[in-house]
Every structure is written in C-alpha cells, then in structure tokens.
C-alpha cells in the first residue's frame, strides 16, 4: 500500500515520540519528515491539545534509597490517571542519572529545566526524546549554583525561542541580577530587576500566557521575615510576571481578600494552562485557586478544597495539585500517592516511587 506523502503527514503526528524516533529508521524520506521543524511543531500542537492527555508526562525527582545521587523519572500521565502503578515511560539517559541535588525548575512543551547543584550544571532535558543539552552558567566566573539562584523556563512565541530566566542571588534584595538566556542566540543577557524592591521567593518560575511568574515579597519585609522565621514567605506576597517577549515586569492581580500571611503558606502554580495559587496551613483546609482569564482579578476561582474529603493523616503534609484536566478533575499528590479527584471524591489512586519534586510536562 503506497500512501502519498500528504497522508503520511496526517498520520504521523498522532504517534507518540517513542514510535516516531524508531520510525526514523524506515527510510530517508521518513527521517526527514520526522526531523523537520514544521512536523515537530505540528506534533507538539496535536499532543498538547489531545483531550485524553495521551502524550502528557509528569517528571519527578527521585532519590535512590541505597545509591548516591538523584534521578529524574518521567511517568506517562494516562497511567497516573488510570493505572494503579505508575509506569516509567521515558528513559532518562545514564549521563543525567545519579547526579547530586537535582532540582527541576519547570517545563515548557515537554522540555524540562534541571540544575545539578553539586556540579554547577544547568541542562534542558527533552522529556520525550530523553536528549539533554547543557547550557552555560549565567555567571561563568563562579560556576557555583547555590541555593539562592532562582530559575524559570518559558517560550517566546514572537521569536520562536525558548528562554531561561535566572535571578541571582535572591537573598540579596539590593544587588541581585536578572538575566535571560536565549536558546536561539545561546547567550545570556542582563535585564532589569523587579521594581519596588520586590524579591522573588526561592521557587521555580511558572510559565503561563507567555510570561514567567513568581511570588515576590518586598525586600524590607523579606529581611524581617528571615530574622523572625528563618525563611521567606512570612509577609504579604505579590505575584510578579516577566514577559518573555518584551522582557518587562508586571504585577499580576491576586484573588480578592486572598491572604498570604501566616499561618497560610502560598504556592504559585500552573494548572491546566491557568495560573494557580495553592494556599495551605497545618491542620487547616488546602485551597486551590485558578485565574480563569489571565490578568483579570475577578476571574480567580476557587476550584478545589481539600477538607471536602480529607484524610486526617494527610493533613500534616498537605496535598499538592499536579495537573488539572479540562473536565475539572484534578491530579493531586499526597506524599507518595498520586490521586485523581473531582470536587468531592477521590476517583483513583496510584503510587509513584518517593516523590520529591514535581512538575507538569506536555
């Protein structure tokens, strides 16, 4: 059966990456189709809009109990949604395994930004193909990635470029620097800092609507909070964004009457393509909010409250949402368990090995 090339172009974008990489062996023509930029774009579009999330993966950091070092593992999302045991779907090359103090800073279109503290390395991992690229450190003189450098990864549609933002050293509100790395120009560029003395918390930047977001606190308050609690996050927090095309900052509105003060801890996230806020406190309810219409304060909606079906045992650790399906079901971690829940009920539970750090990937 000889199918014309236009039909081959229709069929192939439906395949998972693993099959596509194998089928590069079919012929030179197939290899050039599968390797082409247009095809990759088409495939990504298809994969990210697939209503069943067939190609979605969740990558988690994993600490080996006996061996030294840490690994990342990627789990196919449908298995987490339907299976009982998580299945590792992507094979992370040996070279990236067993590194010390890995930190996953987020993902964009299936590319994960990971740093390895001990070796002072930053790399981008393509979760589906398992290929990774090291990028140069933002400050080559001090090839040391301390605890106080904050990263974020996003995509600039206007120039078709993936960009890494690096904010170094966030414990030093007066003299930190903000730099942006362009995967196209392969270089770092210094940009303006946040205004009004705002300093981002030590969290990964969340990529939504072409912008990276952090929770940030005023420098004076940050210093006071550190004295009082030995860490940030005690005071009132704002959401700051950096637009990857314009490379400019903005403050993003929070929900009305939203408290970020003690005892509540707040986490910023990206759920189902929305900017989200998780608010939790020991022995109190956990709330999940999403901003349904980007930039509109009134559109913040509380989509989930943990106490609806909480198991008291999980209260202390709290629940972290991982993924929001388009039908409103939400994937949540409770310690080592990953549960799929709707508003009221736990729909499904699956176990993944020791989860430490989590992020969403397409």
């Amino acid at each position: 059966m000889n199918l014309p090339e236009e039909i081959i172009y229709k069929i192939l974008p439906n395949l998972p990456v693993k099959s596509l990489l194998r089928f590069k062996c079919v012929s030179k023509q197939w290899r050039s189709i599968i390797s082409s930029k247009e095809f990759i774009k088409e495939h990504l579009k298809k994969a990210s809009t697939n209503p069943n999330c067939t190609h979605h993966m969740i990558t988690m950091k994993f600490k080996h109990r006996y061996l030294q070092g840490e690994q990342t593992r990627s789990y196919s999302l449908p298995y987490l949604l339907e299976g009982t045991t998580a299945v590792i779907d992507a094979h992370i090359p040996r070279r990236e395994s067993n590194r010390c103090h890995l930190r996953i800073w987020g993902s964009c279109d299936g590319i994960a930004l990971i740093t390895s503290n001990a070796e002072g390395m930053i790399f981008l991992l393509n979760v589906a193909t398992t290929k990774s690229n090291e990028i140069p450190a933002s400050n080559p003189k001090e090839r040391y990635l301390g605890d106080h450098i904050v990263y974020g990864l996003g995509y600039d549609e206007s120039t078709d470029d993936y960009k890494v933002v690096c904010i170094d050293d966030v414990t030093n509100p007066k003299s930190y620097t903000t730099q942006i790395y362009s995967c196209k120009s392969l270089s770092w560029k210094k940009v303006e800092n946040f205004k009004k003395g705002l300093v981002p918390l030590d969290d990964p930047g969340k990529f939504v609507s072409g912008k990276l977001h952090w929770l940030a606190e005023a420098a004076a308050e940050a210093a006071a909070a550190r004295v009082e609690y030995g860490g940030g996050g005690g005071g009132d927090l704002d959401i700051v964004s950096i637009d990857l095309a314009e490379e400019k900052y903005k403050i993003v509105p929070k929900p009305e009457n939203f408290s970020t003060s003690i005892p509540y801890q707040t986490m910023l996230g990206d759920l189902g393509g929305y900017l989200s806020l998780v608010s939790y406190a020991p022995m109190l309810d956990t709330y999940v909010w999403v901003m349904k219409k980007y930039g509109v304060r009134e559109s913040w909606t509380k989509i989930w409250t943990l106490s609806d079906f909480a198991d008291p045992k999980t209260y202390v650790r709290g629940a972290m949402p991982l993924f929001l399906k388009s039908n409103g079901d939400i994937l949540v971690t409770f310690g080592p368990c990953v549960d799929l829940c709707n508003g009221k009920n736990k729909l499904h539970e699956s176990r993944a090995a020791a989860i430490d750090d989590l992020f969403r990937a397409v």
């Binding site: 059966m1 000889n2 199918l3 236009e6 039909i7 081959i8 229709k10 069929i11 192939l12 439906n14 395949l15 998972p16 693993k18 099959s19 990489l21 194998r22 089928f23 590069k24 062996c25 079919v26 012929s27 030179k28 023509q29 197939w30 290899r31 094979h91 193909t129 398992t130």
Partner: protein, 163 residues
C-alpha cells in the same frame, strides 16, 4: 433540493469498479467533494467516484449514514467513529484514508489517521516498510547509526507475526 421539495433527495454514487450506491444527499454532502458537485448542479445523474472501489465506498457510506444520524453531540460522534473503526485492519484503514482524502471528509480523515497511528504505535520498522510499501534506502551502516541514536525506542516493540 431537499429543502424545497420536502422529500429527502437521494444521490447515486458509482465506484471505480462500477458498483452503484444510493445515499441520502444530506449524508453524502459530508464529503466536500460531493457537496461541491451538488452545488454546481452536476449531481443530477450518477456521480462517478473514480478513486474509490466498491468495498471501500460501501464502508464510507455506512459511516456517512451512521454519523449523520447522530445529532450535534461531539462525544457521541466520537464514540461512533471509534466503534466504526475498531475492527478494521490496516489495509482497510489505508483504503479508507485514501477515500476520505479524495472525498475531502476531514472528520473521517482525522479519525482514520489517528486509528492508523494507533495500529502502528508498537510495530517494528520492518512492519511499517512492508505495510506502507516503502523501500529501505539506507545502507546497513547508515541504518545502524540511526538505530543506535535512538536505541531505547526499540524496546517493547511487538513481534511481526500478527498482521
């Protein structure tokens, strides 16, 4: 047309092996190719479809009738399509994708393409070459190099004894 007379109009379609099929116009115009012919007024007699054989055309008409009987409910349409394609083998699917392309039926085209991909997903490189009639134009060295680059993707591939 149907709307003017109040009675359903029936079209006659002819396959390339001279089989004749009657189908309600309302179902047949799911095909943009047929709709254009109807709109241009060239659907008076028999509509010849030179690129579709009788077996495939019968199947496409079953689909046309089935899907147009479902009211505007995307989920029901999707489950009809899934069921309709569930028992088709690769050769039948390949004939259907060619027919859907020729008839310009995007919903069938998308569904069959996705189904073919599903059938291919765990198949070997050799299976794909055979089924798609593709000649291997790599030298053994070149092929080994491409394979080496993506070695892990050859894990979990089905053996080829099933079709």
């Amino acid at each position: 047309m149907a709307a003017e007379t109040g009675t359903p109009t029936t079209l006659t379609l002819k396959s390339n092996d001279d089989e004749l099929f009657s189908v309600a116009e309302s179902a047949a115009i799911l095909s943009v190719t047929i709709r254009n012919m109807v709109e241009d007024g060239c659907a008076g007699g028999v509509i010849p479809l030179d690129n579709v054989d009788g077996k495939t055309l019968a199947s496409v008409i079953t689909y046309m009738n089935g899907i147009s009987a479902i009211p505007a409910d995307e989920e029901k349409k999707k489950s009809y399509r899934d069921k309709f394609l569930s028992d088709k083998d690769f050769e039948t699917l390949a004939d259907m994708v060619l027919a859907a392309n020729y008839l310009n039926m995007s919903c069938l085209m998308d569904a069959v393409s996705a189904k073919i991909a599903q059938v291919m997903e765990k198949k070997s490189v050799g299976w794909v070459r055979r089924k798609f009639g593709i000649e291997n134009d790599y030298t053994p060295e070149e092929e080994a190099a491409v394979k080496e680059e993506h070695k892990w993707t050859f894990e979990g591939v089905e053996t080829d004894d099933d079709n």
